[in-house]
């Protein structure tokens, strides 16, 4: 499924905003409800520790793919 940001905001107004493009290829650390990106970067451990230092004891970690994702090529 793909759609414009306007269509997304209209169809799914209660869902979190999509991950911005500039984070492609990076690790992200989200807060517990995944509504806010706390830290980001190339190194998982650094990103996790930065999020903890910001007060989130247990961040949710995500590796953002280089979209469009077509497998492990």
């Amino acid at each position: 499924m793909q759609m414009t940001l306007q269509e997304y905001a209209s169809r799914f107004p209660d869902r979190n905003r999509p991950v911005p493009r500039e984070f492609a290829g990076q690790w992200l650390a989200w807060n517990q409800d995944c509504s806010e990106i706390l830290s980001h970067g190339a190194d998982l451990t650094t990103v996790r520790e930065q999020a903890i230092a910001l007060g989130c004891a247990r961040p949710v970690l995500q590796k953002v793919p280089q979209a469009p994702f077509v497998g492990r090529a």
């Binding site: 499924m1 793909q2 759609m3 414009t4 940001l5 269509e7 997304y8 799914f12 869902r15 979190n16 905003r17 999509p18 991950v19 911005p20 493009r21 492609a24 290829g25 989200w30 995944c34 190194d43 998982l44 451990t45 996790r48 247990r58 961040p59 949710v60 970690l61 995500q62 590796k63 953002v64 793919p65 280089q66 979209a67 469009p68 994702f69 077509v70 497998g71 492990r72 090529a73």
Partner: protein, 153 residues
């Protein structure tokens, strides 16, 4: 257990215009010997196994065993040597908490596709999965094969 697809912003490969891409991803906990961490992982019916980047094993101090078999073949033919470990995984959902031990394969970091992938062995084999393209949701119901070691639901 119903999960909303996650979304990322990208550019359409045909028009180059900004688009929202939906992905059937869920939150899981990966347990290491001393501590655990929560991750967002892609549920992938095209993957035979659970695959994670080696940086997760390093971060959680998970000892890895070098695979003796052939390397995995990715979409496009790329060969990837694998190591593995048997580790505890947990699905995070408000209605239910499921935990089991699965063999997880790890690939070296780098490249385009080093996200967490939940394939058939160790994950999809244990669930009835319904991908709802209209609502952009994934429904997972555990089946009798799930070797659960905890259920807080």
């Amino acid at each position: 257990m119903r999960f909303d697809y996650t979304t990322i912003l990208s550019l359409a490969p045909d028009t180059g215009e900004p688009i929202v891409i939906f992905r059937p991803e869920i939150r899981i906990t990966v347990h290491g010997p001393q501590r655990s961490a929560d991750f967002i992982a892609l549920v992938d019916t095209g993957a035979d196994n659970i695959i994670m980047p080696e940086s997760i094993a390093r971060d959680l101090n998970i000892p890895l065993i070098a695979g003796k078999g052939p390397p995995a073949t990715a979409f496009g033919g790329q060969k990837m040597p694998l190591s593995y470990a048997d580790i505890q995984l947990e699905v995070i959902h408000p209605s239910e908490m499921l935990q089991w031990t699965a063999r997880v394969y790890f690939i070296a970091d780098g490249g385009n596709g080093d996200t967490l992938v939940l394939g058939h062995q160790g994950f999809l084999d244990f669930f009835t999965a319904t991908f709802n393209g209209e609502d952009c949701t994934l429904n997972l119901e555990p089946n009798g094969y799930l070797p659960r070691i905890a259920d807080a639901g």
